[in-house]
């Protein structure tokens, strides 16, 4: 029988999608359904003086309008996601300031787009009509539009300190955000900085000494700009109150349905058990659907209040103001090296613009920190991260989640070493890689989950060599010289990175056989298009010896499996995949146990369970393959059924034949406990041609060497890498969320926010290396985010290399004509305009 894991199995869900029969949230419609729309703040910072909804309510077709004052106990601070593990709090004593969002804006608005009111009407056209009649009186305040402005003494406060102090004094905030060591009795023993939601320094080794004794120190300032995921399908929710208004069913386009359920329960004051959150097909997620949002609780609130189904869809103009932003980070960084370019130490300070609310305290800053330590050997490090509050859309992780930004900084520094010491950039990397023979390598800091950061597998030097060979690095310099003679500017860039995936602590899978002999795999993680319905079916089918057509994966439905964490941090394959493996093994064990009893009499000395295998839908003796029990027979005996239909009568009597020692049922749940993350790695390289007169460029070649451990499905893996790389390229070249000095979001629709198209992208050449993860049975490492990490570093390096005759230095993205032409101008004048502030 064929094995499915590792094979390029074509996807099971294509049939429905291709025929236009897959239901996305926008396709769901139920009788009696109302449609909601959010009235959003047009000001970046203002006091709300009054809200008048009378005229809007009077419009025909408008059913209800809610503001914060109408919500009673449901007007609350909403939880943040991803709290600090205690070990991290105790070791690094981060100064965390809670600034959570509230169900609706109350008293004040803090960013353009902040939800102020919810309109419920019979359709969206009418709701939009009504929105124009909602009179909100604002008293505008000065907005803070960037991190540097936010820190200036005398600048406006995005949040007042008192409210933060009140919040952190209560649970769960107290234990999420602070260590016991940070309290003197009931008072925090430190002060928060101005508009600073987090201030945290991670130190490793004697970094000052390293810098003091270094032959060379290079410093610079690096900017990663603001951009975001923009899944083609926006967010959406359909909340249906159950009959008798006992709880509800919520369909949502959401990556963390269990968190969503908890949020609803908490905010509405109803039992979690009575809420079911389920997923239709999702049109992409990328992190934007794993956020903390008012709509997630407002729509269920309205449904419950009105006793009718309420649906909300985020349109694409709203998306830019309503869904999380990401990536805006500014690094002041310096690297110390010996005379040959070996790294002695790394010091950096990063300002992360987290927008108006602090919804993801640990992820962005700390994830960045962790990815500064590999794949290069960094013996000493000091990194200070500050998350800064500004009057912009709140930030949350977007595919890559802090890794692209820090990898950009680190690889630019490597290129700087190369330039200053006149060493080939490839050699600088070669000298500094952590080698396979040094593994497991303890990086000296904790990972975001609180465990020691240990790089345990991966061939970082090998990945670079494979990459450079594939792109023809040695020959390129000749080609580059030749082109320059023809006044053409070609350049090459490279970037290497590690990538943590599969964060725990846990994820579950529930596998059950159905009466008809098919298998259901219930998962809490969500399929946003990355092929769970196929990849996890492959794992299960292999373990159970079943044909993959009989294995059906249902993901993201809280009714299917009791507990789950969700889809983020490239954790699906690792955590859910291994949970599927374990749960399958449990089911397999039961089948084997039953089969061993059924075959007992036919084998002298009885049947050893270890001698049984599941193959071709049979439980069969390895030592005597002619002796077997069909799985269907086992299912018939084990699976109780409540019907009295003719076909069931037969199985009814079969059930009576179940040996006494075995319990009925073929429904097993297992959890994969992830001790810590797994570490993949990649090497990206690109060749570009730049037009220095126009400030434009074209990518001629792009090569990726990618190691994500064992590959469940090479087709799906390849697709994930392609997609990630193109998003990374889009971010590096085109996509930019632009705010003007008044705090208005200028790029607020898909005409202004330019996404990469087919003709912008060359063929991505992908090479796969496999270093199995030692810490999980499947050996997988996580592939969802990797592609997005390399492109900014690679493309900036390549463009800079192309323009090296001009002596250009580029330390920021995006690579717009503005950035490129300014870099050329600055080089002519002699020196960078940026000053580094360390």
């Amino acid at each position: 029988m064929e094995t499915f894991v590792g094979a390029p199995v074509q996807r099971k869900d294509d049939f429905d999608i291709l025929r236009g029969k897959a239901s996305y949230i926008s396709d769901l419609s139920v009788p009696d359904m109302l449609v909601a729309m959010i009235v959003r703040s047009p000001f970046p910072h203002a006091n709300i003086v009054s809200i008048d909804v009378e005229e809007a309510l009077a419009l025909e077709g408008v059913v209800a309008i809610y503001t914060a004052d109408d919500l009673g106990a449901s007007q609350q601070h909403l939880a943040s996601f991803g709290q600090f593990p205690p070990s991290l709090l105790d070791k690094y004593l981060p100064e965390v300031r809670p600034a959570p969002i509230t169900t609706l804006a109350q008293g004040k608005v803090r960013y353009v787009g902040e939800p102020v009111a919810l309109i419920v009407a019979s359709n969206r056209y009418i709701a939009e009509d009504a929105a124009e009649f909602v009179e909100v009186n604002y008293d505008p305040l000065d907005p803070i539009v960037d991190s540097e402005q936010a820190l200036v003494e005398g600048a406006a406060d995005v949040h007042d300190l008192e409210s933060g102090r009140d919040i952190i004094a209560q649970e769960p905030w107290k234990s999420w955000c602070s260590s016991a060591a940070q309290w003197d009795g009931n008072t925090l023993n430190y002060e928060w900085g101005k508009n600073t939601a987090l201030d945290m320094t991670v130190e490793m080794g004697k970094v000052d000494q390293a810098f003091y004794s270094a032959a060379h120190v290079f410093k610079d300032r690096y900017h990663s700009h603001r951009y975001t995921g923009v899944p083609l399908e926006g967010r959406g929710i359909l909340a249906l109150p159950n009959i008798g208004n006992q709880g509800m069913t919520v369909w949502s386009s959401h990556q963390i349905p269990y968190f969503h359920r908890a949020l609803i329960a908490e905010t509405l004051g109803i039992r979690e058990e009575t809420i079911r959150v389920a997923q239709p097909y999702l049109g992409g997620g990328f992190g934007q659907k794993a956020g903390i949002y008012s709509e997630d609780v407002m729509i269920p609130f309205a449904a419950r209040d009105l006793g009718r189904p309420v649906k909300w869809l985020e349109d694409k103009r709203e998306h830019f103001q309503a869904s999380s932003h990401s990536r805006e980070q500014m690094f002041d960084a310096e690297i110390a090296v010996d005379k040959d370019g070996h790294i002695l130490g790394l010091r950096f300070e990063v300002l992360i613009d987290v927008g108006a609310y602090h919804t993801f305290p640990v992820v962005l800053p700390y994830l960045g920190m962790c990815h500064a330590i590999g794949p290069y050997r960094i013996p000493t490090m000091s990194g200070r991260a500050r998350s800064i509050l500004t009057n912009k859309v709140p930030a949350a992780p977007y595919r890559g989640a802090g890794r692209p930004e820090v990898v950009f900084m680190l690889n630019r520094l490597m290129d700087r070493i190369a330039k200053e010491l006149d060493i080939d950039p490839a050699d600088v990397r070669r000298k500094n890689f952590i080698r396979p023979d040094e593994m497991p390598y303890d990086a000296g800091i904790l990972y975001r989950d609180g465990s020691p950061l240990i790089l345990d597998s991966g061939d970082y030097p090998g990945a670079l060599e494979l990459n450079l060979d594939a792109i023809g690095y040695d020959d390129f310099r000749k080609e580059q010289q030749q082109a320059r003679l023809e006044n053409r500017f070609l350049g090459i860039g490279m970037a290497c990175n590690v990538e943590a995936g599969g964060i725990g602590p846990v994820e579950g899978a529930r596998i059950k056989f159905n009466r008809d002999g098919t298998v259901s795999v219930h998962l809490g993680v969500v399929d946003t298009g990355q092929g769970h319905r196929t990849a996890f079916a492959q794992v299960c089918a292999d373990e159970l010896g079943m044909d993959i057509d009989k294995v059906h994966v249902v993901s993201g439905d809280t009714a299917g499996i009791a507990y789950s964490r969700g889809t983020y941090h490239s954790r699906g394959a690792v955590t859910a995949g291994n949970a599927v493996y374990h749960a399958s093994k449990k089911v397999a064990a039961k089948l084997k146990e039953l089969a061993s009893l059924l075959l007992e009499d036919q084998v002298q000395g009885g049947v050893e369970v270890e001698d049984l295998e599941l193959v071709d839908e049979m439980v069969r003796l390895k030592s005597a393959p002619e002796l077997f029990v069909p799985i269907s027979r086992c299912v018939g005996m084990l699976v109780p059924d409540g019907s009295s239909v003719a076909s069931a009568v037969a199985s009814g009597s079969a059930i009576l034949g179940l040996p006494d020692s075995i319990e009925h049922g073929l429904d097993e749940t297992a959890f994969f406990k992830a001790k810590s993350v797994v570490w993949g790695n990649a090497s990206h390289a690109a060749i570009v041609e730049v037009d220095p007169d126009l400030g434009t460029f074209k990518i001629l070649r792009y090569v990726v060497v990618h190691d994500c451990g064992k590959v469940l499905n090479p087709l799906i893996l390849e697709g994930q890498v392609h997609g990630g790389v193109v998003q990374g390229i889009g971010g590096a070249m085109f996509e930019e969320l632009v705010y003007d000095e008044d705090g208005q979001l200028v790029s607020s629709n898909m005409a202004d926010y330019v996404l990469p198209r087919h003709d912008d992208i060359p063929e991505i050449e992908l090479k796969t290396m496999v270093s199995p993860a030692p810490s999980n049975p499947l050996g997988v490492k996580g592939a969802g985010e990797g592609g997005t990490i390399g492109p900014p570093a690679v493309l900036v390096a390549a463009v800079e290399d192309a323009l090296s005759p001009f002596g250009v230095t580029i330390t920021r993205t995006p690579l717009t004509p503005r950035t490129i032409l300014k870099a050329i101008r600055d080089a002519k004048v002699g020196g960078n305009n940026e000053t580094c502030k360390i």
């Binding site: 007169d693 198209r757 503005r818």
Partner: protein, 301 residues
């Protein structure tokens, strides 16, 4: 001024299909509310979805056959205002006379937009970074506008007033675009710089020339778009160049510098105003060089 909420559905309006041009004009003048003409809708409907445009009544002229057709007579290539970009690009008559039109049209959006968008609609929209305004200005086109008092001809040089504003009065409809056939004798080149196909152009240029037997420039026209509130006729040989001017690199540079004087580009995240001027300079230089080179090649062919 903060923008109104986030809408993607149009506000309410009345809708009527005009059966004749006369009826369309009558409806345009009628009533107190705002009446607007609907042809392909590729500029108007997005604006209505965003509720930036909120007409009280839309007058659909798409079925007016009298506004369709491409033909040539003694003096002009005549294009009906309702011809779509795709139809004009595919027209053999247009290709034979002015082959550069197809090149310029290929920069307009993508196929789906070109299948519905009309030349009349594009002109009435008057986006300074759009292709048609720049192209028709270079070609010295004459735009026929029909209103309650009849037809009048507005030369392209007078048609574009400022951002999204034309010389049309509120009760006039663009009915025909006439390109003088003598423009066909010029060698043309069209160049555009944008982030990607279909995105807002950063700058665009259309240059045309004829060279006399002694090698001097007989005719020269250069229009630049995307660098100000309307397309600019940056060079016109009758006013800008003395007779006997020889085309060479120095002249090209000088013409580019002079052209830049007439441009007022904006500043945004993609390119600063200074960047745009530099980009325009490069584009103008390249277009002029190209057009001279093509002219020579055409002569040799």
């Amino acid at each position: 001024m903060p923008k109104l909420g986030v809408t993607m559905k149009p506000a309410k309006f009345d809708y009527v299909v005009a059966k004749t041009l006369a009826e369309a004009i009558e409806l345009l003048c009628e009533g107190d509310g705002e009446n607007r003409i609907l042809s392909g809708g590729q500029s108007l409907i997005p604006a209505m979805n965003l509720r930036l445009a909120r007409p009280d009544r839309l007058i659909d002229i798409a079925s007016l056959l009298e506004l369709r057709g491409i033909r040539e007579d003694e003096e002009f290539l005549r294009i009906g205002a309702l011809m779509t970009h795709d139809e004009i690009g595919a027209s053999q008559i247009a290709k034979n006379l002015i082959p550069v039109l197809a090149e310029a049209i290929s920069h307009i959006g993508h196929a789906a937009i070109r299948n519905r968008g009309t030349i009349g609609g594009s002109l009435a929209n008057a986006d300074p970074a759009a292709e048609w305004p720049c192209v028709l200005l270079a070609l010295s086109a004459q735009i026929t506008a029909t209103g309650p008092s009849g037809e009048r001809v507005i030369p392209a040089e007078e048609f574009f007033v400022t951002y999204y504003t034309t010389a049309l009065s509120h009760d006039e409809i663009v009915t025909e675009i006439c390109i003088p056939k003598k423009m066909a004798s010029l060698q043309w080149s069209f160049q555009e710089v944008s982030r990607q196909q279909g995105a807002f152009a950063i700058a665009l240029t259309m240059a045309g020339t004829t060279i006399a037997s002694d090698g001097s420039i007989a005719e020269m026209r250069l229009a630049v778009g995307g660098c100000g509130s309307r397309p600019v006729l940056a060079i016109e040989s009758t006013t800008d160049l003395p007779a006997g001017t020889m085309p060479n690199t120095d002249l090209i540079e000088e013409m580019a510098e002079r052209a830049l004087q007439k441009l007022e580009p904006s500043d945004d995240a993609i390119a600063s105003a200074e960047d745009r001027l530099n980009i325009a300079r490069v584009l103008i230089t390249r277009t002029l060089s190209k057009v001279f080179q093509l002219y020579v090649e055409r002569g040799q062919a």
